[in-house]
C-alpha cells in the first residue's frame, strides 16, 4: 500500500489530483489517502478526510512508501520509520498555504537526502520512478540537547 497524506486540514487539490491521475500510467499499487479539506474527489484510490494520530501511525507503518505535502510532522514520522517519502511542497501562489515555508523545508530535507521532492505533477512522475531504489538517509535529531536547554531554564524557576 502507498500512503498519500496532505495533513488533516488544509486542502491540497493539486497533489491529490496528480496522484490520482498517475495511478494508471505509473502502475501504482493500492493507494490510500488522507485528503483533509481537499475538494477533489479521488477516483482511483480509497480515501478518508482525517485519521486520528494513532490510525495515522498504523497506516504509515504499513505503507511501502509515502507521498505527502512538506509537513514536518509527516516528514519526521516517515523518516523515523525509514519509509521512502516523496514530498510536494504547498505553494502560496496556488493558495495552498499562507506562505512558502514548505518549499524551503522540502529543499532542506531534500538536499540532505532524506526525501524526494517534486514541485509539480511531472516531477512527481519522475520521483515515482525513482522511489523504488531510494533509501532515505537517516536523520539524527537532538531532542535531549534541546530538553537540556529547557531544563536549565526551568531550574532557574525552582528555589535552591
Amino acid at each position: 500500500m502507498i500512503f498519500l497524506t496532505v495533513g488533516s486540514s488544509l486542502p491540497f487539490d493539486r497533489l491529490v489530483a496528480a496522484v490520482d491521475e498517475l495511478i494508471a500510467p505509473a502502475k501504482l499499487d493500492e493507494v490510500f489517502a488522507q485528503i483533509g479539506d481537499t475538494l477533489y474527489r479521488p477516483q482511483k484510490m480509497r480515501w478518508v478526510q482525517t485519521l486520528s494520530k494513532n490510525d495515522f501511525d498504523r497506516v504509515l507503518a504499513d505503507a511501502r512508501f509515502v507521498i505527502s505535502h512538506a509537513g514536518v510532522g509527516t516528514i519526521a514520522s516517515a523518516l523515523s520509520l525509514g519509509k521512502p517519502l516523496i514530498v510536494m511542497p504547498r505553494q502560496r501562489a496556488f493558495g495552498e498555504a499562507v506562505n512558502d515555508h514548505q518549499v524551503s523545508t522540502a529543499e532542506r530535507f531534500g538536499a540532505a537526502g532524506h526525501i524526494l521532492v517534486a514541485h509539480d505533477a511531472q516531477q512527481l512522475a519522475t520521483c515515482l520512478a525513482q522511489v523504488v531504489s531510494f533509501t532515505p538517509k537517516p536523520r539524527s535529531a537532538q531532542p535531549r540537547a534541546v530538553s537540556q536547554r529547557v531544563a536549565a531554564f526551568l531550574n532557574t524557576l525552582v528555589d535552591p
Binding site: 495533513g7 488533516s8 486540514s9 488544509l10 482525517t50 485519521l51 486520528s52 494520530k53 494513532n54 509537513g71 514536518v72 510532522g73 509527516t74 516528514i75 519526521a76 514520522s77 523518516l79 523515523s80 499562507v98 515555508h101 514548505q102 524551503s104 523545508t105 532542506r108 536523520r139 535529531a141 537532538q142 531532542p143 535531549r144 540537547a145 534541546v146 530538553s147 537540556q148 536547554r149 529547557v150 531544563a151 531554564f153 526551568l154 531550574n155 524557576l157 525552582v158 528555589d159
Partner: protein, 162 residues
C-alpha cells in the same frame, strides 16, 4: 506581572498545535526526566490529539485551531485558552507552537508564567509569525536552525527536535 518565583513544585504546562508541532513536542517529552518537574498538563488544538496525551496520564485541554486563514475561530480559541490558563495558573509553559499556543502563552504570561517557545523546524529562514509575536515576551526562545539564531536577536539554537 507576578515577580515571585514559585516556592515548591512548579506547575509546568506543555503544548503544541496538531500536526508537525505535535511531532516536534513528542520527542522533547521523551526527555522530561531532565526537568525539575514533570509536566502537569497538556494543551493541544484538536480532539484527535487528546488520546495521545491522555495516554501519558496528564490532564489535557483542547483549545481549538486558528490561523491567518481562520480568523473567525479566534474568539473561540481566545476563550478556551484563557479559561485553561486561569484554571491552571502554570508557572511555566513549554511549547512548539503555533498560533493557538501563542495565545495561551500570552494569557499564561499575564498570569505570571515563564514562557519557553521552541519555533517549529518548518521555519528554516526566520521565526514563524506566532514565533515573532511570542518572542517579544518569551523568557526563552529557541529555533531549530543555527542560521535563524544568527539572524534573529534573542533567539537561541540548542538542537533539532526531529
Amino acid at each position: 506581572m507576578n515577580a515571585d518565583r514559585p516556592r515548591r513544585k512548579p506547575v509546568i504546562a506543555v503544548g503544541a498545535s496538531a500536526g508537525g508541532h505535535t511531532n516536534e513536542l513528542l520527542p522533547l517529552l521523551e526527555h522530561t526526566d531532565l526537568w525539575p518537574e514533570l509536566p502537569s498538563f497538556y494543551v493541544t488544538t484538536l480532539d484527535i490529539l487528546a488520546e495521545k496525551y491522555a495516554a501519558r496520564g496528564g490532564r489535557t485541554y483542547v483549545i481549538g485551531e486558528c490561523d491567518r486563514r481562520k480568523l473567525l475561530d479566534i474568539p473561540k480559541v481566545i476563550w478556551r485558552s484563557l479559561r485553561c490558563a486561569c484554571r491552571e495558573r502554570p508557572d511555566a509553559v513549554v511549547t512548539t507552537g503555533s498560533m493557538p499556543l501563542a495565545l495561551f502563552c500570552l494569557w499564561a504570561k499575564l498570569l505570571g508564567a515563564k514562557i519557553v517557545w521552541i519555533d517549529s523546524i518548518a521555519n528554516t529562514d526566520g521565526l514563524s509569525l506566532s514565533g515573532r509575536l511570542v518572542r517579544s515576551f518569551a523568557d526563552l526562545c529557541l529555533t531549530q536552525w543555527p542560521q535563524v539564531a544568527q539572524r534573529v536577536r534573542g533567539v537561541e539554537y540548542a538542537g533539532q527536535l526531529i
